[in-house]
Symmetry: C2
Subunit: 243 residues, 2 copies
């Protein structure tokens, strides 16, 4: 793990790092010492580790919960080079959709392929970040919607350190198989008028989690319009399960 | 409005009253003066104004939000005499269900009948309670699930003083018509494994509210098993919209 830069503002310390080929960022409370809960944030498609939604979650988890927060670029996103194979598949998929094929199974297949790379990458990131003295091996949470759900569900299913997860804007076709192996508390965010994920697909994914505690929060609006008050609720969910 | 008794414990003042034929209870913070938000709690079928779930909500809304809270007995419940007409219909309905008829349309018809009585009753209760100096004409909220939803939806649709409502465990067949006239923020509680309300009926009722802000909270479990953390969430919802 190679440190690139460290900056502080408003009591929030931001550390940019590279782990192998993975560019990442770790946020911690200024002057933090000792073990604390750690939340991994998974960004959406076309976004990156410091996209506005990721930053908003990171800053509040640090400031209001005192947690450590980490985010990394998904392959082909942010500071990572274009991935030729993923790019070729994405281009082919677009052509198949243009020719009339259904988008959902193509997304499902593509996310499954990328997850085979990101699950071990994210596990390596947890390994390294938890070795830092001001993070340590406390409880871990995961947050991710849309692509962050498609990659997050197999990650949460595989990674026993994760104790609670906020997921959403995903579908059963892509994620129900792995969801059926998730037993930790889940908060699931669904947009009632999602133009990208059919409502029944989102409801079926919520249904698939085998967690004893899982809560669906559905709000009106399109894919990108999760209301701001759900962030408040996410903070309380993580505080309750990791704090 | 005739006062029956007033008791205080742990900073919570409980006033039993009768308004016409309606027995009710008003909870306020001890020593409260001046106007404050008021929440009307609608109890479930077979319950009453001081059922454990109602008491739990009342105590926390008073203690943690400083609100006034009022609950009354639905006709045929609690301290009210058996209502012969309602009783006859309920007995007939039970016989029809035993003979193989579908329960949902019978419940819908029955709740619509009772609501024609309870909507004006509850409006009269608001009128009287808001005349008390330590309640006043502040913003009003409504909470009710199951029967409290079946009677609550037409009440919230009719009563412009209500600024926010928590509803749940109801169905579209009984309530979609009135729900389509509700525009205030709604929190809707659905039990994913509800043995009394088919899941599709609950989802369709959530769909029917025309409120710009409405959030569905769905949790695993049967009709009577709403998790305790939803009460925390209800308090925050009312604090945000009435406080």
């Amino acid at each position: 793990m190679r440190f690139i830069s460290e900056t502080s503002s408003d009591g929030n310390c931001e550390l940019l790092f590279i782990l192998g080929e993975i560019p990442g960022v770790l946020w911690t409370p200024g002057g933090a010492t000792g073990t604390r809960p750690l939340v991994l944030l998974g960004h959406g498609g076309g976004q990156h580790k410091k996209a506005p939604g990721i930053l908003a979650h990171a800053r509040r988890l640090v400031a209001e919960c005192g947690f450590a927060v980490v985010a990394v670029d998904v392959p082909g996103h942010g500071d990572r080079p274009m991935d030729e194979e993923y790019n070729r598949i994405a281009t082919e998929n677009q052509a198949r959709v243009d020719a009339g094929e259904d988008l959902a199974p193509l997304i499902a297949e593509f996310q499954a392929l990328v997850a085979r790379q990101t699950v071990p990458e994210w596990q390596a990131v947890l390994d390294s970040v938890q070795q830092l003295a001001h993070v340590g091996t406390g409880p871990v949470g995961y947050w991710g919607v849309s692509l962050g759900c498609g990659l997050g569900v197999p990650f949460v299913a595989a990674e026993t350190r994760v104790r609670a997860a906020v997921l959403g804007l995903g579908g059963a076709l892509a994620s129900a198989g792995a969801a059926a192996r998730i037993t930790v508390p889940v908060r699931y965010l669904l947009q009632w008028d999602d133009e990208r994920v059919p409502r029944a697909q989102g409801l079926a994914l919520f249904d698939a989690f085998v967690s004893a505690e899982k809560t669906l929060h559905a709000n009106p609006g399109r894919h990108g319009e999760i209301p701001a008050f759900e962030l408040d609720s996410t903070l309380r969910f993580f505080a309750r399960h990791l704090g």
